[in-house]
């Protein structure tokens, strides 16, 4: 029963090491982590590989449903061709399709202008238009053009923009705002909360009173005021969102700081004569880090929701720039005619939120296993 003999490995396992091992064992959290990384990579890199710009408007493809096969569909070729030919102010006599190309015979009352073929090129459906032959009187001609193969995996929106590239761009914005505003909120919250917790006494009382009053103000009031002040600017917007969400962080950090200050190991350090700086550096910050990390992962989804909510109300990111909230808002208005406008962005947003929540829960279980 002597408890003195330790024949143990020389290097111990820190609580961080333990937490990482527990997190690795949590399948939902690890899957979510990979999912989130994949989502970020896709949103950052993806737009460079999608053949469409998120701002390009394809007038021929307004509200095109999502499809894995290439557009145009056969029945769309004629419509698009008629559109283009009408702009030339000529009539179609006959047309036929050979492989990738269409051959159109047109007639007109006035002599045909060879430059008219540019109307075919301008169409989103055709490319490489050529004047094959012109009749002797110049009143009829045969034109040919390649059918431009286009893919819209997610379909297109109300104005004919590719939803895939828009969703990915929106993801960039939403994730960036989530991360940046999350950091802003955490920084303000930690500084404020730690100051209150450490000063204690009257200072603490006054600082927390202020937080209480801010809490009792309608939350949305703040956001709207801030948006009104800062204007609808992307960079300032995440500042505004972050500036609102720091309240919880401040409370959590203050509570933790207070409780750490009361811990016996801090008293022990005081009894050793350690200065306040040393106590903060060696005892408080390392023990505060866990709750802050946990809260931050739970804060990011909140920020994303808040940003989407503002964008939904038309107060957030402005066209042509986009975010998931903007897309969902547009989708909600068009559910009768184009439900994919809602479903794709909603899936991206919701799955990201789920992943973030699972990571947050996993981190909490890993860092603070008492809760289980």
């Amino acid at each position: 029963m002597t408890d003195t003999a330790i024949t143990a490995p020389v290097v111990g396992r820190s609580l961080w090491g333990d937490a990482w091992a527990r997190l690795k064992a949590n399948k939902a959290a690890m899957f979510s982590l990979f999912y989130l990384i994949a989502m970020s990579v896709v949103c950052i890199v993806g737009p460079y590989f999608v053949p469409h710009q998120y701002t390009t408007i394809y007038a021929d493809y307004v509200r095109t449903p999502p499809s894995f096969s290439a557009y145009p569909k056969p029945e769309m070729i004629e419509t698009a061709m008629n559109d283009a030919v009408r702009r030339m102010r000529v009539d179609v006599k006959e047309w036929r399709q050979e492989d990738e190309r269409v051959f159109i015979t047109v007639t007109s009352a006035k002599p045909l202008d060879a430059r008219n073929i540019r109307y075919l090129d301008r169409s989103d459906t055709f490319d490489n238009a050529k004047l094959e032959s012109t009749s002797a009187d110049g009143l009829s001609a045969v034109m040919s053009a390649t059918i431009k193969q286009q893919y819209f995996f997610f379909g297109t929106d109300n104005t004919g923009r590719d939803l895939l590239s828009r969703t990915l761009m929106a993801g960039r914005i939403s994730l960036a705002i989530g991360l940046l505003a999350g950091i802003v909120a955490v920084v303000i919250g930690v500084v404020y909360g730690a100051t209150a917790g450490f000063m204690g006494g009257k200072t603490d009382e006054v600082m927390m009173r202020i937080v209480d009053v801010l809490y009792s103000l309608p939350f949305i009031f703040f956001v709207i005021m801030l948006v009104v002040f800062f204007g609808r600017n992307f960079v300032l917007m995440f500042l505004a969102v972050g500036a609102v969400l720091w309240l919880d962080m401040a409370r959590i950090v203050r509570g933790q700081a207070l409780s750490i200050r009361r811990q016996e190991y801090v008293q022990a350090a005081e009894a050793l004569g350690v200065r306040s700086r040393g106590i903060v550096q060696r005892h408080v910050i390392p023990n505060l880090l866990g709750p802050v990390v946990i809260y931050m992962t739970l804060l990011v989804p909140q920020v994303i929701i808040l940003e989407s909510f503002l964008s939904f109300l038309g107060l957030g990111v402005q066209e042509p720039m986009t975010s998931w909230g903007v897309l969902i808002s547009a989708g909600a208005k068009n559910i009768g005619t184009a439900n994919w406008l809602l479903l794709f962005p909603a899936f991206f947003l919701v799955s990201t939120l789920f992943a973030l929540n699972f990571i947050g829960d996993g981190l909490r279980d890993a860092l603070d296993p008492k809760d289980r």
């Binding site: 009792s216 103000l217 009104v228 809602l342």
Partner: protein, 307 residues
């Protein structure tokens, strides 16, 4: 207890005062004014309107006047909807928002509570996991996704419910909004209830009750549940205040004429009186429900004494 309530009501006055003051000056600092955006207003008419509403007066005088009116229960006229006073607008919209909010809250407390208890009693079994899954989904999916999905499924695909509109308060028009409002609340209540019930079931006095051979009903309902509702009570107060004062998202998507949209529209249009009215109403609801929570607490927990 009575003295306590009186004291709490008295301390509510300075709180309200601070909120009103803060809100009044904040919105006035913001650039723009109520009649700037309206097209086709000649400068004379604009000046006339501003004079009529006293907007040309020094700010402090406007503030004093506003407080005076407020003391008489007068919220002033709405600048953007000139035919209505703010009071009339609330008289019209608030009952609608309260109806929806109250139904959603009641539904959430009832269903969420039961789900939470079922999960706690079956901890780490299938029933528990399905409640956790539901709660995670409910609290993760934002309202502005749930609402259009409900419209899409129930309104468009299955044609069971109208897509939107108030329909003079027909029950069928309320189902969608109430469902949307209550789903996240059900999730939160279920999660809270599960956690507090598990903790309560683990406590030492439950072990005592079991050791005394008391029936399961007595152990779970009489001893465990009463302690476990306390966190729900403290959650329900602020939640009620938020729900009853209307939801912007739900009222926008379902086209419900409640008060939820007033605030955003009013703030964007610098409709000062309507913004202030909304702030005051929300603050009053919050204060009232916090007080109700504290009174309920004393009712549930003999350790809480107010004197």
């Amino acid at each position: 207890m009575f003295v306590y309530v009186i004291r709490r009501l008295l301390t509510a006055i300075p709180t309200l005062f601070v909120i009103v003051t803060l809100a009044f000056f904040l919105i006035r600092i913001a650039p723009g004014g109520p009649f700037n955006q309206e097209r086709g207003l000649s400068p004379e008419i604009k000046a006339n309107l501003e004079a009529q509403f006293g907007l040309g007066d020094p700010l402090w005088l406007q503030y004093v006047n506003y407080l005076k009116n407020l003391l008489h229960g007068n919220f002033g006229p709405s600048y953007n909807l000139p035919d209505f006073t703010v009071t009339e607008l609330f008289a019209k919209g608030l009952p609608i928002s309260i109806q929806l909010g109250f139904s959603a809250l009641a539904l959430a407390l009832f269903i969420g509570g039961i789900l939470g208890i079922v999960a706690a009693l079956n901890q780490n079994k299938a029933g528990d996991y399905s409640v956790i899954a539901l709660a995670t989904a409910g609290s993760t999916i934002p309202t502005f996704v749930i609402a259009p999905v409900i419209q899409l499924l129930f309104g468009l695909t299955w044609k069971l419910l109208p897509i939107g509109g108030w329909g003079d308060g027909a029950l069928i028009n309320k189902i969608g909004p109430i469902l949307t409002l209550s789903l996240p609340q059900i999730a939160i209540v279920a999660r809270l209830m599960r956690g507090s019930m598990i903790e309560s079931l683990r406590s030492n006095h439950i072990r005592t009750a079991r050791a005394l051979g008391l029936s399961d009903w007595s152990v779970v309902v009489k001893h465990a549940l009463r302690g476990a509702v306390l966190p729900i009570v403290s959650y329900a107060g602020p939640a009620a205040a938020a729900l009853l004062t209307g939801s912007i998202i739900v009222e926008t998507i379902f086209a419900i004429p409640g008060v939820g949209r007033y605030f955003v529209d009013a703030a964007l249009n610098r409709d000062y009186t309507l913004v202030m009215g909304t702030v005051v109403v929300i603050a009053l609801f919050t204060i009232a429900f916090n007080l109700i929570v504290d009174i309920l607490y004393a009712f549930f927990d003999p350790r809480v004494r107010y004197d």
